[in-house]
Structure formats: C-alpha cells, structure tokens
Symmetry: C2
Subunit: 118 residues, 2 copies
DNA sequence: CGGCATCCTTTTGGATACTG
DNA sequence: CAGTATCCAAAAGGATGCCG
C-alpha cells in the first residue's frame, strides 16, 4: 500500500523519515557496516568525530527504523554486533548518489562561496 | 580537479556540504522553485511549516552554495525572486531519489517501528 | 514585501561518572 | 565492552518588533 503523502504538507510522514535518514551520522554508520557487521567500538573508531552518545542514538534510530539489526553475542564480556538490513542496503543507493554529488561538486560549490563573499 | 577526501575523516569538506544539502528545508525549497522562479512569500506559503527566519537562512545558504540565485526586481515595493541554478538542478536528481525512497519505504519502516516497540 | 535584530525558550551536544 | 544517567554549555528555533 502506498501512503498518501503531500510532499509539502507539514503532516507528511515522509518528511520526518527524510530527516532521519539524512541524519549527520546515519549515512556513515550504514556505510561502515555495509560489508560486514561490526561492533560498537569498531564503528565508533571508524566514524571519526562521533561521540559515544551520538552513536548510541544513531544506532537506536537506525534499528528502530529497520535499517540495522542489533545482535548480542553471548560471550564474556558481551559483544554487540550491528548489521545492515536489506532495507538499509536499499537506502544506500540513493544515499551514496547524494554523497557522490557532494564529492563531484565540491569545487563548484567552493567557487560559488568565494563569489558570494565578494 | 577532484578533491582528495576521505569519506569518514572529520576533516572531509564533503561532510559539511552533505549536511547542508540534506537540510530539512533545502530539498523542499529547491523543489518548489524548480519549475519557475518564485518570490519569498510564495515559497513561504508553499513550504508548509517553515518560519520566516528559517526560510531566510535556508535561502542564504542555498545562494551561498550556488544552488539558487537571488534577484531583486526594481518594482515598488521591491520584489525578490529566487531561481534554481544548474548546480541546484543537478542536485535534484539525487535528492529526489532519496525522497522517492522515503515514500516507497514508509510502510516497511512503520512496520519495523511497530516491531521495535514490542 | 522582504527582510534583519532581539529576546527567550527549547533542543541538542559534549564531558564525565557509573554499571552489568 | 557497551552502554545509561546526569549535568552543563552551545546551538537551534519561535515570537515579536522594526525598517527600507
């Protein structure tokens, strides 16, 4: 079933989802766990600049939205693994394209910024 | 020239650009002015929920990044028109794809959310 | 009409300490 | 190791008033 949704309506539920998937850290987290599931502190080390608090929040939201699954491994001490889901993988396409855009157009944007200051 | 940029490095300039183009209002503003240039208050009315302050900030940033051009029409009282640039148009592809994703996967996400609460 | 400036409230973010 | 809880600083957001 397709949800009825006006792109510009404040009530449109896809607006909120859009905000969540374009979150500052979500894209990077999804990327680092794409190849294989990773543990909390491994992700933390790879995503430079993320705090423990922010990473926890990001992972919870990703999990809640079905983009990531959390698995507790019964070792001692416990290990926790985060894996990307099929839904998460399907998001990577659009997200990657957007990131590609930022890379390829960084120069044009920088130039525009210099022009703007003048 | 392609910028050297490590996706996960905190110093990577594309990170900041990514944050800016995935801004809450940017996508909607770019969409509404896509067909033809619009004036400030017209945009404001179409993008439901945006405040005057937020719209001003969004437009300034879009302009600064070269995605939008601001034109002052010498009428009385003055009219100000915002038009999308070629760079802005090139961003619409990836941005639109991402928005498409949110629409088509809203159901799956909602289902995941229900599952998560349980 | 299209803003900018100010004020104030609310949200977010970082740092630190503590726990199973 | 993988968090939660707390506290404080910083940033964002809304409301209002004013101006060219």
């Amino acid at each position: 079933m397709m949800v009825e949704c006006d792109y510009f309506s404040a009530a449109c539920p896809s607006r909120q989802l859009f905000d969540q998937v374009t979150d500052k850290w979500s894209m990077m987290v999804l990327s680092v766990i794409r190849a294989k599931p990773l543990r909390f502190n491994t992700i933390r080390r790879q995503v430079e600049g993320v705090t423990q608090k922010a990473l926890t929040q990001t992972l919870r939201r990703l999990e809640r939205n079905g983009l990531v699954v959390r698995r507790v491994l019964p070792t001692s001490p416990v290990a926790v693994e985060y894996a990307i889901t099929d839904l998460g993988l399907s998001l990577q396409g659009p997200l990657g394209a957007l990131h590609e855009w930022t890379i390829t157009n960084l120069d044009k944007v920088s130039e525009a910024q210099r022009a703007y200051e003048a």
